[in-house]
């Protein structure tokens, strides 16, 4: 799958936060590549700089030094149109029906509305929410709201989806279900996804690649391909290979 030019290329990225004159090194020497179509899981303890890295990728944060390049000659990338974001909270607009919530990015980008509406219906079906188009967010469960947020991130057909602990607020059972759903959506929609989590099994289960960060300041501790076949199934979690991967991460994070 390796191409000459990766879709995302990060090299030696360093980020310092300054608050009240105090400097805080949040990310040091972040270096990794992501191929187009990969689902990369960024895993690390709380406060290690995962969100910071994601915001740098989204173009929301500046950085002190290093290189961030997204897109290649083969896969051109327009930062305004090619990023979809999913956060820990669904952040749906309470006063909009689900369909209109999904349409928000299309409205902001000024995409043709009739076609977007059609696409929104398709996406809601894809995330298993057909029939909820005209409901309000409060009429949906947390998991359903998060699915709607995923549909919203896909509406403008971005090439890159950035997800920041999207299932962190869900209960364990819903979370497992959403993991399977995400894998299905990823395979159908053929997107590149960067998925931030502090769930170690979640990272291994979802990722085609796992990048492990350690805290204070964020340091790249490991970066490996997950050689579990697709489609992934829940019983893979009990396989020996899966155990090897999770143990490897626990070891790096000093949690054995």
């Amino acid at each position: 799958m390796s191409m000459a030019e990766p879709f995302i290329h990060l090299a030696g990225v360093r980020k310092v936060y300054r608050t009240r004159g105090v400097e805080f090194l949040a990310v040091s020497e972040a270096t990794f590549d992501v191929e187009g179509g990969e689902l990369v899981a960024l895993v690390g303890p709380s406060g290690c700089g995962k969100t910071t890295l994601l915001k740098i990728l989204a173009g929301l944060h500046s950085y002190e030094s290093g290189t961030v390049r997204i897109g290649s000659a083969k896969q051109p990338f327009d930062p305004a149109r090619d990023i979809g974001m999913v956060f820990q909270q669904p952040l749906l607009l309470k006063w909009r029906r689900i369909l209109d919530n999904v349409l928000l990015p299309a409205e902001i980008l000024g995409l043709p509305l009739a076609a977007s509406r059609e696409r929104a219906r398709h996406l809601l079906a894809l995330v298993g929410l057909s029939g909820a188009e005209l409901k309000y967010p409060y009429e949906l469960s947390g998991g359903m709201q998060q699915r709607a947020a995923i549909a919203r991130a896909l509406i403008h057909d971005p090439k890159l989806i950035l997800m920041d602990e999207p299932f962190g607020a869900l209960d364990a059972m819903t979370r497992e279900k959403m993991n399977l759903e995400l894998l299905r959506i990823w395979q159908e929609a053929r997107k590149t996804i960067v998925f931030v989590t502090h769930g170690i099994t979640e990272a291994v289960f979802l990722g085609t690649r796992v990048i492990v960060l350690t805290a204070g300041p964020a340091r790249m501790a490991d970066n490996f391909r997950v050689e579990l076949p697709h489609p992934r199934t829940l019983d893979m979690k009990t396989s020996e290979l899966f155990g090897d991967y999770t143990r490897r991460i626990y070891h790096l994070l000093g949690m054995e």
């Binding site: 607009l93 006063w95 409205e107 902001i108 409060y138």
Partner: protein, 267 residues
């Protein structure tokens, strides 16, 4: 913007029955209050000038000298006029603040200090400056209900989820898009909570204005009949003032129901 069949976790028929029950209870409890009032006056042999019976109170409406219709109209104009003025100017000012940080920094602390002035204390000044009449009483109602509207609107416009800002920024959305799609609709529940508080204050403002100086209105009438000890008329005036306030409040509540999705409403 309201859902077609607002769910309360109950099937519509049961929800309707629940609502009907609520309204019936509300009506019954008010009727009971009137009954208790009647019994208290009758059994306790309370003199009419201390507390008139419900019937005597109603009877006061028949005194043509009191010009009820005109007084009701005057007081209503003062309340609604001051209120509408406060809503329009209050919301407009808060919008201007949200667009200009500089202006907000310059003006907001001033507004907060001015809010500390007991507006009622301005009454005598207003009379010195503008004489008495409907105009100054509208100003009184305006002065007292303007602040809660500006302050809550400004607060609502500030309360945007930082991550929603991020979302709009990644899409290179404009300031105007952020305002129309997220900031303003998000502020509506706050605006209405300010408007509800203000609706009650507007009534107080107009009446205090009439007490301090006026030649018409229900507040003015109360001072007149106080002299002749016509307590029944005073009761009637208080009831009418309350009704005017209730109409205003219900109008605001109805508008809120129309414009704000149930879940987004502030309690």
């Amino acid at each position: 913007m309201k859902p077609a069949g607002e769910t309360t976790g109950m099937p519509p028929a049961a929800a309707n029955r629940d609502a009907l029950q609520r309204y019936s209870f509300a009506v019954i409890i008010h009727l009971l209050l009137v009954l208790a009032w009647y019994l208290f006056v009758k059994i306790g042999q309370v003199p009419k000038f201390v507390m008139p019976s419900p019937y005597e109170t109603l009877h006061a409406l028949l005194v043509p000298n009191y010009r009820w219709a005109e007084n009701i109209a005057v007081t209503s104009v003062e309340i609604f006029g001051g209120y509408v003025l406060a809503v329009v100017i209050g919301i407009a000012l808060a919008l201007v603040f949200s667009w200009s940080r500089w202006l907000e920094m310059a003006t907001m602390p001033l507004l907060v200090s001015l809010n500390m002035i007991p507006k009622v204390a301005l009454g005598p000044l207003i009379i010195v400056w503008f004489k008495y009449g409907i105009g100054p009483n509208i100003m009184m109602a305006f002065a007292i209900c303007f602040f809660p509207i500006v302050l809550t609107t400004a607060r609502g416009l500030r309360e945007v989820e930082p991550e929603l800002l991020d979302l709009v920024r990644t899409l290179r959305g404009s300031r105007w898009q952020l305002f129309t799609k997220i900031q303003f609709p998000g502020a509506l529940p706050y605006i209405f909570s300010g408007m509800k508080v203000a609706a009650i204050l507007a009534v107080a403002g107009a009446i205090v204005g009439e007490f301090l100086g006026s030649d018409r209105g229900l507040g003015y009438l109360m001072l007149q009949v106080q002299v002749t000890l016509d307590t029944a008329a005073m009761f009637m005036a208080v009831i009418l003032i309350t009704l005017i306030g209730s109409v205003l409040y219900l109008l605001v509540l109805g508008l809120e129901r129309l414009l704000v999705v149930r879940d987004a409403r502030l309690q």
